[in-house]
Symmetry: C2
Subunit: 342 residues, 2 copies
């Protein structure tokens, strides 16, 4: 039995309590400053108010002020924050993690460097880590609706990180009869897939919003965008030096994300012809990782294009999504350009 | 304006009348011996009884006995038969096509050679063509529900063939404001994707049938199978010497095929726990290309494994589908094996 400390008690981070407790580990769930109510309620009643489920028996809950206590003696730290909390996690949690303790993160996103180079969060953070620090950063990719993880539906995801032997240890700690774990040292490929499935779920949903607005039933347009999203993500994986096979994590994850989730909702509204400001208003300020990653990656591609490291024409769908998000462009799916650049 | 003769007046072949007529070509639609009623009705009323739509004005309809007449002077022949009609097309239509006339086929499937080698139909047929014959065989891949093609919904597919200059001519003949054509000389990759999206739509639907039988709502299991289907198809594309980027045609096509179509239906029934015989009975003898391609490819992989050209362990989902189809196996999705072999 090990001690697993989860930092960030939103729905995805907290859902990791289930496979962790199913394996009999001591599980410590730490809320961030944004999770205060979640932890208060959990301490009082054992209920997770966002997951609307009773946490597994034995999960210990902590407020952020108790972080050091929760981290002491931990064998594994699970990073449970969203991409918007990545920097906060790096600055406020990472330094407090003892050398030799691995981190496994559910955070999805890509970080653009000054020169436009795109790095997965674990790689970008590792580069900034003080010399001599020994905290290996790993991440989770692949399709996983958190509620289904809690309810023991079969779920297959990937743990990625730099050290296969460590990845095997992490799998041994967390896999269950229902939580199936693939392993990959292709951090760039897996994390690119993870980040872009949010970004492109928005893109595929443009066609869904369009048919809803037109009051017609069809599937050819959204399946064409699904294929284009796969093509552009495969190109981005190559650009990031990842392995092409990691596109498999993208395809399954895009499928479920197009069905469910907020990323789809914004795309639907833009597909119905709403301006980005109207769409954001409808979603009343819900933070959207999908929009953030699209804008980040599109800008990075423009920067890389300046010295010929990327060709934005290889990404016509992503470019148009960025125009919708950043420039109030009118919806105009680039059908011909996508086919010509296939 | 050119003359385009479509041989095979099932739903997909006949749907090609729309982009062909939208481009102003003379379109001749020839029914096979199985299509007699369709052609009779079309000649009388102009209606296509299977598509339940009025054929575009000017489409000329022919019974199979009038094949020579319909082929005379044709600039392009579109092969509209299903994979079960491929051999018939090769033996009865191909020999009657004049040298210099290209063929563009909607037929989906792979052909296993004696030694287990898998070839796309156009390649297998070209190999058997008499020396000196000059009939270039091309094919269409990618997501396209035929009804939507008739109704002018945006559709993006790929024409594949050995000669890029010819492919460009074919695109010029058929692309429209709604019918968007990608071009690829990767016949192996595109045709493998096209064939396996049918085969694996059955596989993904196993999880759909399972949740229906259990009366639960979930998406993680089917999205995991969607990812595994993508992985196994990518491996098969490599095995066939295709290009990895052609997996993009698979992903978009699997998405729409899982939503709609008969391939999904058989998988659902097997997912509900029915034996293959019970399932076939429920579908009362509807011919299923998906089951045929799964059995063909699984057998070919076993044959290739004999001399080390393939490793069946790289295809755990396909293997289990084959067990369900060929050996009356009980449903037992190989979750752990899939994750271990990722």
């Amino acid at each position: 039995m090990s001690i697993i400390t989860i930092v960030g008690s939103g729905v995805m981070g907290s859902a990791m309590c289930w496979p962790a407790r199913d394996n009999g580990h001591e599980v410590r769930l730490v809320g961030t400053h944004l999770d205060r109510e979640i932890i208060d309620a959990a301490k009082k009643t054992g209920e997770h108010i966002k997951l609307k489920r009773r946490l597994p028996d034995g999960v210990l809950c902590y407020q952020i002020e108790e972080l050091e206590t929760a981290l002491s003696g931990a064998d594994l730290v699970i990073g449970g924050v969203s991409s918007f909390g990545a920097r906060w996690f790096e600055e406020n949690v990472l330094p407090k993690i003892a050398d030799g303790t691995p981190v496994l993160s559910v955070t999805k996103g890509l970080e653009a460097q000054e020169d436009g180079t795109l790095l997965p969060f674990p790689v970008a953070m590792a580069k900034r880590m003080p010399a001599g620090r020994n905290v290996v950063l790993n991440a989770i990719g692949g399709p996983c609706l958190c509620y289904e993880l809690c309810d023991h539906h079969h779920t297959t995801i990937a743990f990625c990180g730099p050290d296969m032997e460590l990845l095997k240890k992490l799998r041994d700690m967390l896999e269950t009869e229902f939580y199936h774990v693939c392993l990959s040292t292709d951090i760039a490929g897996v994390e690119c897939a993870v980040a872009m499935k949010n970004g492109f779920a928005l893109g595929v949903a443009l066609a869904i919003g369009q048919k809803e607005a037109a009051g017609v039933e069809n599937l050819n347009p959204e399946s064409a965008l699904f294929g284009e999203a796969t093509r552009e993500t495969l190109r981005l994986i190559r650009l990031m030096g990842g392995e092409e096979e990691s596109i498999c994590y993208f395809a399954g994850d895009l499928y479920v994300t197009v069905y469910a989730g907020r990323s789809r909702r914004l795309g639907e509204l833009l597909g119905r012809g709403l301006d980005i400001d109207e769409a954001r208003e409808r979603l009343n300020g819900v933070t959207l990782e999908s929009a953030a990653v699209d804008v980040t990656v599109a800008a990075a591609l423009r920067r890389m294009a300046e010295d010929g490291r990327a060709n934005p024409d290889d990404f016509p769908l992503l470019q148009h999504i960025d125009e919708l998000l950043s420039q109030h462009a009118k919806l105009n799916i680039p059908w011909e350009k996508m086919a010509r650049n296939a």
